[in-house]
Structures are given as C-alpha cells and as structure tokens.
C-alpha cells in the first residue's frame, strides 16, 4: 500500500482557475507538509501541519490555502492560478523524529 498518496498525479488547467490537490498518509505520522519543486528541481517547503495545526507557513501567496481535516490528510487549494504556479507539488509526512520524512509521488501542475 502506498504510504503517502497524492491525487491527482497530473493537473492541467487554465490561468485564473481554482484547483485542489489531495494528500493522504497511512503511516500514522503526526506531521504533514507541502513542498514545491520548480523546473530546476529546487524543493521548497510551503506549509507544515502537526496534528491538524498549522506549524510552518513560508512566504507563499495567500492564493494557496492548506486544509487538514484530520492528521492523515492535508489538502492544498489554489485560487486564481497563475503561470508561475506550474511546478510539481509534493506532500510529505513525518513523525516528530525528523528522520522519517516520507514523500508522495508528486502532482505535476501545469497552468496554461
């Protein structure tokens, strides 16, 4: 079974649209993250939730809104999509121990 699963795997949408990416982990981890990987492969943290509470909120446009209905799920909603939002978005989870980051397979978002 997949430990961290993201849907959809690919997302192509037009500028100005609103879209959501879903993430679920079945590892029993307390903390979940969203990372953005740009075209140059650079991985940058966007948000971190611990047990449904927002812990880390990097400098991300407020068009991006994470939502954690429970500690096994962390969704990412993006309003008014822009061309620059095109990237691969990775969900990850961990226990309080920092050596247990597990990443999902990513969602490739293309804004046209």
């Amino acid at each position: 079974d997949t430990a961290v699963s993201q849907t959809p795997k690919y997302l192509v949408t037009q500028m100005g649209n609103d879209k959501s990416i879903k993430c679920e982990q079945n590892l029993g981890h307390d903390t979940m993250y969203w990372y953005k990987q740009d075209s140059k492969k650079f991985l940058k943290i966007m948000f971190s939730y611990n047990n449904k509470e927002l812990i880390i909120n990097e400098t991300v446009p407020n068009r991006f809104s994470p939502k954690s209905p429970d500690k096994a799920h962390l969704n990412l909603h993006i309003n008014s999509l822009e061309l620059g939002d095109s990237a691969v978005y990775f969900c990850a989870s961990s226990q309080l121990l920092r050596d247990s980051y597990t990443f999902g397979s990513g969602t490739r978002l293309t804004v046209v």
Binding site: V4, T31, K40, K41, F42, L43, K44, I45, S48, N50, I55, I56, F90, A92, S94, L96, R98, D99, S100, Y101, T102, F103, G104, S105, G106
Partner: protein
C-alpha cells in the same frame, strides 16, 4: 538566501566510479543532515542521514562525511551503478515551532552513471 549550498549541479561518472556530492551550510542551528534520492516521476526518498556528533556514516555503498568545523558534508557513492542515476539532494533540519523540525534542501545534483 540559500541556506544549504550543494555542488556540483550535475555529475557524470562511469560504472564503478566514486561520485562525490558536496554540501555546505551556514546556520549552526541545523542539527540533522539527511540525503535524499529522487528518480524521475517519483518523490524524494531518504537515502542516508547523519547527526553532527559523527564524522562519518556508511550504509552499504553510500557514505556521508561530515566536517562540523567547516560546516560541510558530502555524499560518496562507492562502486556506482547505472541504477544509481538519479537526482540527489542534501538537506539540513532544525527545530521550527515547538518540537517540529523544518527540512531545508540543497538545489540537487543530477548524477548519471554510464555503463
């Protein structure tokens, strides 16, 4: 400001060679240094990690060397194989908010191992 600097950006070696990837950091609050391996179309996967009280760690063909005074660490891959071709990321972790930790990545190194 890039907190973890990684080099080289890309690296090509022959099978059996020993690629070396280097990383440097500035913030002494970092206290955990993992390496991640990413294959195309996949998420990064933890490969090996080290804490600053240790100068070297080996797991199979992968070795991390850590120099605390120089604030540098590196990954060595012994007897490299074509299957090791991937993007490698160094990272550094520090506390961020209570007992949570924030992982900061280097920019990645694309390794190609030719047969």
């Amino acid at each position: 400001q890039q907190q973890v600097k990684q080099s080289p950006q890309s690296l090509i070696v022959q099978k059996g060679g020993i690629p070396i990837i280097n990383c440097a950091y500035e913030n002494t609050a970092f206290d955990y240094f993992p390496w991640y391996q990413q294959f195309p179309g996949k998420g990064p996967a933890l490969l090996i990690a080290i804490r600053p009280d240790v100068s070297e760690k080996k797991e199979g063909r992968f070795t991390i060397s850590f120099n605390k005074s120089a604030k540098q660490f590196s990954l060595h891959i012994m007897d490299s194989q074509p299957g090791d071709s991937a993007t490698y990321f160094c990272a550094a972790s520090m506390k961020s908010g209570g007992s949570n930790y924030k992982l900061t990545f280097g920019k990645g190194t694309l390794l190609t191992v030719n047969p």
